[in-house]
Symmetry: C2
Subunit: 99 residues, 2 copies
């Protein structure tokens, strides 16, 4: 299992629209092969910042399966215009003593 | 419930020692009032990077209860010397449609 982590900085003032469009987008990601679960949370220290955490069965389910899918084009169209700067996405795995 | 998020950049070459000391430190944090659960995960793109995710009942359980406790001094002594740079810690809450 691989955890995708993205810190999302949303253009100030667009938080409500982003949250509403994310709700639609969450149905897209939830339907993808290898998707396990996700959480979107809002930062207490900076209200225009969010963290997206997605568990995938494998790295490739995200980087190849999802990103090369037609569904990703819809995801992108719904969400990418909210971000400034565009987020860096990283992947994390459990460390040995927890594996 | 509040999610504490810290991206931890460990000095290169000290990953194994950090993981071993984190295992001890996880017993400290797990015993604190308001602690719910935590995960430490290692970055696939940069192996000296980790993410620490801790769920607390309230923000103050972390920022006041834990950080002002004698146990925090032990935590600090075990772990803080591994970090470069010293991490920024943020807190996140569920957004309205998930609350």
């Amino acid at each position: 299992m691989i955890l995708e982590v993205a810190i999302l900085n949303v253009i100030s003032g667009q938080e409500n629209n982003f949250e509403s469009d994310f709700k639609k987008a969450s149905e897209i990601i939830s339907s993808m092969k290898g998707y396990i679960n996700h959480e979107l949370k809002q930062c207490l220290e900076k209200r225009s910042r969010y963290i997206l955490l997605v568990n995938w069965e494998t790295l490739e389910d995200h980087t190849e399966g999802f990103r090369n899918s037609p569904e990703y084009q819809e995801w992108k169209q719904l969400l990418h215009h909210y971000y400034d700067p565009f987020p860096e996405v990283e992947h994390y795995e459990s460390i040995s003593f927890e594996r």
